[in-house]
């Protein structure tokens, strides 16, 4: 479904991605793991058109989408839940969701979609007319995911959905990702919380300083790579952070 070849991206003089190759098949739940600054978010940004890659190709459903504008990529069927949730704080929950359906709006389907979001995220129904900025962190994350789902994406990309959330909230977000995946949504997940991510994904890629260091199933990854060291850039493996 999504094929990335030799993707190189940079912020000015700093190269953030150096020849990344990655693939996501239809119906898969794939994680992109790595430490801070490894290039996870940069990869997602290059896919969704926020960042123009220096070179390399991004093919989605047989079509080249590298260098396309974000609005064009969304139309192709890739929806992004950006890092830090990026809720429109001054807009109500309703308006946030309505914008999520900007390109795909059909009155009847929209109403049905809203009902579906309320069943997935009951809190959004309760807060429907409140400004998004008044929601708690976890609620905002749910709104961000619901907003992304409103466009009926073929591929959903989540950038650090558990970041800054309480353990309970993290649980429900991971539960939700599993549910979405069971319903057939193809998902590319970027996570800091590697252990949690490996519990639910089909395959994972490990990024270190801009290149894919390893890819495979969660079992293979656990056997072959010391996840703690990959995250911390050291080899002592004694740190309990994030594991």
């Amino acid at each position: 479904m999504l094929t990335i070849k030799d993707l190189t991206a940079s912020y000015g003089a700093i190269t953030a991605l150096n020849g990344v190759c990655l693939e996501v098949a239809e119906g898969e739940l794939v994680a992109l793991l790595g430490s801070n600054g490894a290039g996870k978010s940069t990869t997602l940004k290059s896919i969704c058109g926020v960042l123009r890659p220096v070179q390399g190709s991004v093919t989605f459903l047989g079509e080249e989408i590298a260098n396309k504008a974000p609005e064009a990529v969304l139309k192709k069927g890739i929806s992004m839940v950006p890092e830090g949730r990026e809720i429109f704080g001054s807009l109500t929950v309703e308006e946030n969701l309505r914008l999520g359906a900007f390109t795909s709006y059909q009155r009847d389907r929209y109403k049905a979609d809203l009902e579906e979001m309320f069943s997935l995220f009951p809190i959004l129904g309760e807060r429907f007319t409140q400004p998004g900025g008044l929601l708690s962190g976890g609620e905002q994350q749910m709104l961000a995911i619901a907003r992304a789902l409103m466009s009926h994406p073929k591929l959903l990309m989540l950038d650090e959905p558990s970041l800054g959330l309480s353990p309970t909230m993290t649980d429900s977000i991971f539960e939700l990702i599993t549910t979405l995946r069971e319903r057939g949504t193809t998902i590319l997940l970027v996570e800091q919380n590697a252990e949690r991510a490996l519990e639910i994904v089909d395959r994972a890629y490990l990024l270190t300083t801009g290149s894919i260091e390893f890819s495979g199933t969660p079992e293979e990854l656990r056997q072959r790579v010391d996840i703690a060291s990959a995250y911390l850039g050291g080899g002592n493996g004694t740190c309990e952070v994030r594991l």
């Binding site: 990026e86 807009l91 907003r147």
Partner: protein
């Protein structure tokens, strides 16, 4: 003194200034660009009034409609031709571009029409005065209040009830994320420029109506007023712009009646003192607003 006449004239002046600053903030909110060519949209409206009113037999109301359309169209064209190509560059590039657009538009009328001011014809009722409850008020002052109420209502409905309005508010908040929703960047930016130009066009009718003449430099004062009003009211929300316009109008009229005759010619200097005080003690303006400073990239 502060009587009914003062109140009506202040609301009227405030209305005009509110529309002016609103037009400036519409573009600023989304592009984070202080468009220094904004005053020239008022000028374009003024010259449209002059050209259509003098050289065609069009009825006055059609002339006014076309003047507003001309300002909106020129605003849109400046976005298309001048601002769009430099949008992803630095903010400085955009600022310099806006100066260039301003100088360019001024010189177009200088070359094609004249450097001297031209008389603009207005219908007789425009300068008529109304008398009621002991107050004498020019009819056009009542007219601008009515038009402002209508425009603010329409804009509120557009911004709150339409998807384009939501997208524009979202874009002012988080531009890139708005694009991730599938909202085309060009759509919201063009819409902002068209609304901005429309407001400038409406203002041009009343601005030119005061002196019934137009000259190539007529856009300077409206730009300055819009800028000061947004500093007072707050650059980060449409509400702030409207408040700023009315507060500016009030302060200006208060200074006019309170300053002794010997100081009245320094009225603008006092106005700037107030602006400096705002910049020192409340730089975000009266109305804080929720917009962030994210640049369009």
């Amino acid at each position: 003194m502060i009587d009914l006449e003062f109140i009506i004239n202040t609301i009227s002046l405030g209305s005009l200034y509110a529309l002016l600053s609103l037009g400036l903030v519409f573009v600023y909110g989304i592009l984070k660009l202080v468009n220094f060519a904004y005053g020239e949209y008022v000028m374009v409206g003024g010259y449209a009034l002059y050209v259509i009113g003098t050289f065609t037999g069009m009825p006055w109301y059609m002339t006014m409609v076309f003047a507003v359309l001309a300002a909106a169209f020129v605003s849109y064209m400046t976005e298309l031709v001048a601002f769009r190509p430099v949008r992803t560059k630095s903010l400085t590039a955009m600022l310099v571009t806006s100066f260039a657009v301003s100088v360019f538009l001024q010189n177009v009328v200088l070359i094609t029409i004249s450097s001297r001011s031209r008389a603009v014809r207005f219908p007789a009722f425009f300068s008529r005065t109304l008398e009621f409850a002991g107050a004498t008020v020019p009819l056009r002052n009542i007219l601008i209040i009515g038009i402002t109420i209508v425009l603010l209502t329409v804009l509120t409905i557009v911004m709150k009830r339409t998807v384009l309005g939501m997208a524009m508010r979202a874009a002012a908040d988080r531009f890139t994320t708005t694009r991730l929703m599938g909202v085309p960047a060009n759509l919201v930016i063009s819409a902002a420029f068209i609304i901005s130009g429309t407001l400038a066009g409406v203002v041009s009718i009343f601005w030119v109506g005061r002196s019934a003449s137009v000259d190539p430099l007529i856009g300077m004062a409206p730009l300055l007023i819009a800028f000061i009003a947004t500093v007072i009211g707050g650059m980060h929300s449409l509400v702030g712009a409207v408040i700023g316009g009315f507060v500016y109008g009030l302060l200006f009229n208060l200074l006019s009646i309170m300053l002794p005759a010997s100081l009245i010619s320094y009225r603008d200097a006092f106005m700037f003192v107030i602006v400096i005080l705002f910049l020192l003690f409340r730089p975000e303006g009266i109305w804080r607003g929720g917009y962030t400073e994210e640049r369009v990239g």
